[in-house]
Each structure stands twice: as structure tokens, then as C-alpha cells.
């Protein structure tokens, strides 16, 4: 298998594994970490494409994704902490306030 093709398959596999993790795990923090895994898969595919094409646009996008991921975590962690303080659990099945 070609090197780039192997890396692209790894990126796709990481994205799919991350999505499976978001769906099947019942711990909000682990779900967040699986989302990070999906972002990492996307980053790997962007770096592979940038490396193959020799242009910098993919690397710039990866750089911006780093910042967005950091901002996302900076918001998500306080929200998780507040949810845990109110419900005393990390189980997302308990967070049903919006159900009406």
C-alpha cells in the first residue's frame, strides 16, 4: 500500500472510531475525548493532503483547527463541570432537562 494511502486510511479509521466512541460511550468526558480523536483524524488527512500536494494550505487549516479545538475544550470543560455539579453524574442519559 502507498504511504499516503495508508495514512489516509488511518485518518478515516480514526474518524470512524471516534464517531463510534461518541455514540456508544456513556461518559461525557470520554465522549469529548472521542471528539478530539475525530479532530485528530481530520488533521492527519489534511497533513497528508498538504504533504502530497506540496502546498501550505492544508497546514494552515491544521493550525486553525488546533486553535478551534483548544477553544472548544475551553468551553466544553466548564460546561461539563457545571453539569456534573448539578446532576452529580457524568452519564449523558441523565441530562434530560431540555426534553420538556
Amino acid at each position: 500500500m502507498d504511504k499516503a494511502q495508508m495514512l489516509l486510511s488511518l485518518a478515516v479509521a480514526m474518524f470512524a472510531i471516534g464517531m463510534v466512541g461518541v455514540i456508544i460511550r456513556r461518559n461525557v468526558l470520554v465522549m469529548l475525548m472521542c471528539m478530539e480523536l475525530m479532530l485528530n483524524g481530520v488533521n492527519l488527512s489534511l497533513v497528508t493532503f498538504a504533504h502530497q500536494s506540496g502546498t501550505t494550505v492544508g497546514a494552515v487549516l491544521v493550525f486553525l483547527i488546533f486553535v478551534v479545538a483548544t477553544a472548544e475544550i475551553a468551553i466544553a470543560i466548564p460546561i461539563v463541570l457545571m453539569l456534573v455539579r448539578r446532576k452529580h453524574t457524568l452519564d449523558p442519559d441523565v441530562y434530560t432537562d431540555l426534553k420538556g
Binding site: 495514512l7 472510531i17 461518559n27 469529548l32 475525548m33 498538504a50 504533504h51 494550505v57 470543560i77 457524568l90
Partner: protein, 173 residues
């Protein structure tokens, strides 16, 4: 010696990629959040190794600095703050485990099918670019995105403060 190191690059790339895949499977499979975090950290470090071997060293450095150094350290702190007797830690999987895995496999097949023909066989010698080319194009062509990023970070800081402040006010009242 240089020839030996040059030959070592491809096997190392495959080893790092395999380790990253194993780490990402462990992220989904392990039970304790701290072990999940450690698996994710090792996955990110192996990905940093892959980036380094591909020649994009600055992204490898930022992967380790930002993801492992900032995001995951933050995550580990929060895991240590939480109660280990939480019932959510006992049951590992939600009832959606079978449809979730089926959906994931379908997504994987669809993505593999979509990606398969994307890289033609004509990609023989990929051109390498360094930090200089990246910086020049980053600050020349993408300066607006760079500035917007600072606005995003400011909004994130303000939002985090608002979330925490609102919650403490509700606790008092």
C-alpha cells in the same frame, strides 16, 4: 549512517501509524477515563511522530505542545477533579452499542470508498515545505483567518467565564 536513517523512515512511519490506530481503539475500549486519556495522549504523540516523519516538523511540535501540553493536561485535571464513585464509570457502553458500531462500520466503508480514488498513482515525489514557506503564506494570504482566530479565542475566554460565573450565582441564589 544517513542512508540507514533514510531507510528507517518508512518502517517507522508504519510503526507509528499502527500504534496510533491501536491507541485510538483503546480510547473507545478502555473503561477508566484516566486510561482513556492516556491512550489518547499516546495516540496524539504517535501522530506527532508521523507528522515529523512526513517532514512537517512545526505541526508535529504544535501537536505535542497544544494537544498534549494544553488540551489533554486540562482533561486530566478535570478527570482528577471528578468523583471516582460516579455510576457513569461502572457501565461502559450506552444501549446504543450495536447500532453505534454498525453505523461506524458503514461510515468507515463509505469514507474508504470516497477516499479510495482520491490519491492517484501519479503522486511520486511529494514536495516538502518548511516553516518559512508556511509562515510566509500564513501571514500573507491567511492573515484575516489569523485575526479571526484571536476573536474566537477572546469569545471562548469570555464564554468560559460567563458559564462559571452564572453557575456560581445560581448556587448562591
Amino acid at each position: 549512517m544517513n542512508e540507514f536513517l533514510g531507510n528507517l523512515e518508512t518502517p517507522l512511519l508504519y510503526i507509528f501509524a499502527f500504534c496510533a490506530l491501536v491507541g485510538s481503539i483503546l480510547v473507545v475500549a478502555l473503561r477508566q477515563p484516566m486510561r482513556v486519556a492516556m491512550a489518547l495522549i499516546s495516540t496524539m504523540i504517535f501522530l506527532g511522530g508521523v507528522y515529523g516523519l512526513l517532514g512537517v516538523h512545526f505541526i508535529a511540535a504544535f501537536q505535542v505542545l497544544i494537544y498534549v501540553g494544553a488540551v489533554m493536561v486540562f482533561m486530566v485535571y478535570v478527570i482528577m477533579l471528578l468523583d471516582p464513585r460516579d455510576p457513569a464509570l461502572k457501565g461502559r457502553f450506552s444501549p446504543l452499542v450495536v447500532p453505534g458500531i454498525v453505523g461506524g462500520v458503514v461510515l468507515l466503508l463509505a469514507l474508504v470508498h470516497a477516499v479510495n480514488g482520491l490519491l492517484g498513482s501519479g503522486t511520486s515525489t511529494p514536495a516538502r515545505f518548511g516553516l518559512k514557506e508556511f509562515s510566509v503564506s500564513f501571514l500573507n494570504e491567511y492573515w484575516l483567518h489569523f485575526e479571526l482566530t484571536s476573536v474566537l479565542l477572546l469569545a471562548a475566554v469570555v464564554a468560559a467565564l460567563a458559564v462559571i460565573k452564572g453557575a456560581t450565582r445560581r448556587d448562591r441564589g
